[in-house]
Symmetry: C2
Subunit: 207 residues, 2 copies
């Protein structure tokens, strides 16, 4: 849930107030930190502040989902899909690009990924149609994929999404595994450490 | 001292790498937080990310030092200098605009401010000429200022700067006081809490 935006009151004026609000709406940034960051953006050389603004604009202009796996990329295909050394018949399914980054950081997964773009969550109005599932089914069917590793988050919605996908792929000759429960149920995958994730990848089990 | 900028390596591409670097160069933002913030700026609606970039650009275009006291402002004169209820013959001298904000937050100082723009620091190559001292001397002389309160940081350089200013104003019929040492020597003014600063303001002593 996004933090509510406070009304703009800043002794320097409304534009500084607006910047402090924007900074405070970032994840993990509180009011005091937002104030300090705004102050830094005022104190630093003007070229530096403008380069920061430009970096944000550039990123949003350049980055888009990979048409193959829905990872984010600045290229036609993402780095992983383009890499000829990756095992093409093994696909790891994750909810978000940041989960992919966490798994990639273990350095032990030789296959490709498929980013769902979320998980099935009726309470938040997210259904199967909101995820990249048609593309997944088509990919498994047309690309001779032999194993799909479920790496959705180890909680109710993540498990439910994995189960839904298992049913969706039931007709196809593909082995379905999931991350070993080295990761604690109820925790958030994004914050798991490297070792825990590496153990979970190595010990993946039949689903 | 600014943090060294890491070379751009990001799986999404160099533009995301550049944004992560910029974020990590902000005060108090480490590599992991920078990565999460960049991810947020990729995940959030594009309009929101662009509005953030715009907020930074707008602030740098709009904010400038007050010509009277060198506080930051988006107006001709800052809010404090424009306020007819402020005591015009009492001026509090601070190093940075953020110190002014901390003192203002106590709500007990009735006078105006003068922002030096730093403190005398030979080791960092900051001399008297780099501070807004000529304007201070002129202001004290021409505006009938009766009391100057030194609120430089309670450390060697801050005390040295206050002493330098005391000598500079020695010829003028102005009372010079300093913040009561309710604030611990060696600490940083910016992080002092409201009560401590309020005590220090109330108990200010002859210099």
């Amino acid at each position: 849930m996004p933090k509510p935006v406070e009304p703009a009151h800043h002794p320097y004026g409304p534009k500084v107030g607006a910047l402090v609000e924007r900074l405070a709406s970032l994840p993990g940034i509180g009011g005091k930190t937002a104030e300090r960051l705004a102050q830094h953006l005022l104190d630093c050389p003007k070229t530096e502040a403008l380069a920061f603004a430009r970096a944000i604009t550039d990123v949003r202009a350049a980055v888009h989902p990979c048409p193959e796996c829905f990872n984010l990329t600045e290229n036609d295909l993402c780095d992983i899909c383009r890499d000829p050394r990756r095992e093409k018949h093994l696909v790891c399914i994750v909810e978000q690009p940041r989960d992919l980054l966490s798994l990639e950081a273990t350095g032990i997964f030789p296959g490709l990924y498929h980013v769902l773009g979320g998980r099935i969550s009726p309470l938040n109005g997210v259904g199967p149609d909101d995820l990249n599932l048609d593309a997944l089914v088509k990919r498994v069917r047309d690309r001779g994929i032999q194993e799909v590793v479920m790496a959705t988050n180890p909680n109710l919605e993540g498990d439910g999404t994995a189960l839904y996908i298992t049913n969706l792929l039931a007709e196809q000759p593909v082995k379905i595994t999931r991350l070993a429960r080295g990761i604690a149920t109820g925790s958030v995958l994004e914050f798991a450490n490297r070792e825990m994730l590496a153990d979970a990848l190595r010990g993946r089990q039949a689903f």
